[in-house]
Symmetry: C2
Subunit: 384 residues, 2 copies
Amino acid sequence: MPAFERPEYIDRITKVKARMEHLGIEVLLVINQSNMYYLTGYEGRSDYVPQMLILTLEDEEPKLILRKQDVPCAVHSTFLKPRNIIGYPEDYIGTERRHPHEFMAQLFKDWGIDKRRLGIERSNAPISPTGWDRLKAAMPNANFIEAAGLVAWHRLKKSPAELVYMRQAAAIADIAMQTAIDAIAPGVRECDVGAKVMAAQCMGTPDFGGDPPRPPAMPSGKKTSAPHLSWSDEVYRPNQPINIELGGFRRRYVAGLSRAIHIGEPPGRLRALHEATLEGMSTALETARSGRICEEVEAAFRATTRRHGFEKNSRIGYAIGIDWAENTASFHPGDRTVLEPDMTFHLMLGMWYDDWGYVLSETFRITDAGGETLAKLPRKLFVK
Amino acid sequence: MPAFERPEYIDRITKVKARMEHLGIEVLLVINQSNMYYLTGYEGRSDYVPQMLILTLEDEEPKLILRKQDVPCAVHSTFLKPRNIIGYPEDYIGTERRHPHEFMAQLFKDWGIDKRRLGIERSNAPISPTGWDRLKAAMPNANFIEAAGLVAWHRLKKSPAELVYMRQAAAIADIAMQTAIDAIAPGVRECDVGAKVMAAQCMGTPDFGGDPPRPPAMPSGKKTSAPHLSWSDEVYRPNQPINIELGGFRRRYVAGLSRAIHIGEPPGRLRALHEATLEGMSTALETARSGRICEEVEAAFRATTRRHGFEKNSRIGYAIGIDWAENTASFHPGDRTVLEPDMTFHLMLGMWYDDWGYVLSETFRITDAGGETLAKLPRKLFVK
């Protein structure tokens, strides 16, 4: 069953079509699987093989072209009529003699859409250079128009039904982070803490389960200088810092959450950075209200932490929703996106140095009064 | 710490260079992150941003160009000298005004390699059409040569050190599958079984922990017609089939394992397909010995199951190792790869129909006497 009712999908599609018309696009080719999920509910995590969604201005429903083996997954998970789900034969897999994009191109010719104005997501699409070159070669007269972000920007502002999932995801993130904090202790293997965290992410709450999660980042010791490392099978030792960034996952909507933990008394520099970041986060959340622009949120944070002697050199957050980052708006200098109610962001305030680092993050919703964080866990530097 | 000693990496690099010379490639650009891991140990799962490995015929070590934030991860996880790990600035992230490939192209010019014969993995590289077009635009005189599979084919035959990890991965897969079989029962939520399975994948054994796992596929009921669906938060009901495909993950090496489970007495068609597949698997494993070719393994399986009235319409297996499928050799008609000792494959014998399906799989090693399976779990149709 898809995560939403049919009218929600039709509403999304209608908005995307309006944007297509505005850009002079007659047919939209969607490759990014988070965008496919947004428009149809297709749950397959199958973009290791070529697949595509096709939306014309005339059709009410888009079509999906998938590997034949993945068609039943689409039948079970999307709101589409089965006739709009097309499989390409299995003998297109694991061979260099034919390419699924050639199968698709032939269909486009059969449907008479190959010479129309085709929007395609070029800049954020996991198709290989070969796939792209073969698609172009199979449709030499096609008129491709850049459509990167066309769907993704519509995902930024969440509907009430999406916000229900985002809040559930945040509740799961709270539980998973508390599980990590409880489990970390000297002598415990990192992978065993990882096991408890991932189990908590899956179980969710008695009222709603979690989706298959992405593993947490949880570097320890000097590896805290790296934001994206996971666990090892070493045991925790006294006087180690641990930085945890994890997500709650619910019907593919994600709430990111990060906390720093220290086994034993934290060093002064870590406490100082925590205090500076806490204050910076408050300022950023106050600034992040409807009508303000993305770069102002970053500027407010920067001014606050600079007074404490700390400077973050990377963006301080990004739009979040389906499958984590949406790759649209970011809080960094130059991003002039105007904030609107119900946009959701992951405010990610990690700072990383040569042999240590610190993280604090919250997923929040834009309101007229500022950013409303979705998780409830205290913003402490947790000491074990 | 990298998963292997320096000489193992140097040996891999030497073999890759020999192949480069054979193909007339002076500089190899590697984009696929499993190939990056194979050649350097780089553990980042960071290919949602552009990154590249550069290997020239002259240099002993390759270079990595990563997002600046990911450089410490490479310092911690690779065998490379820190000077061979280069970060591009954070202001290349989240913007359309500049692209990391432009930064890379400038470096290639500085190094004087931009006009040399550049091998690039086109057909299996997760770079976007925009990234590819920008790279070509930034190096208008570059001479790009298709190098797809150049590194990946070297991964097929495993070294003794790799086989240690493959066997550990298989031991973890055994534990995780047994955990699923034990946990499934009417009234239990699917996500709670998922939680136990993922915890088992993470914990591994007391001697070695598991890596962050990919979630199991575990469709139930009519959803068993789809191979790649995960869990829901519904409870299991009497008389339901469940198909589980999961991996054991160890230092990024994967052993895949699949079993079918039925709550209550299985229907006759399921038992019949199980018996046919069991016999087909034995024949396939006997055929899969050194000197035979891939398509013969498929033909042996096909002939056996056909006698039972069953026909599998997709490939029956593929090379497996780092990060699951290697995208090189497959067991399907037309694949003329000659089998050599210590190649590893995932023999995946799923068959899927309109409203049901069945799975049985084993990860195995080629020997002179046939395929040696790495997991120990009985090949039963498990009844709960």
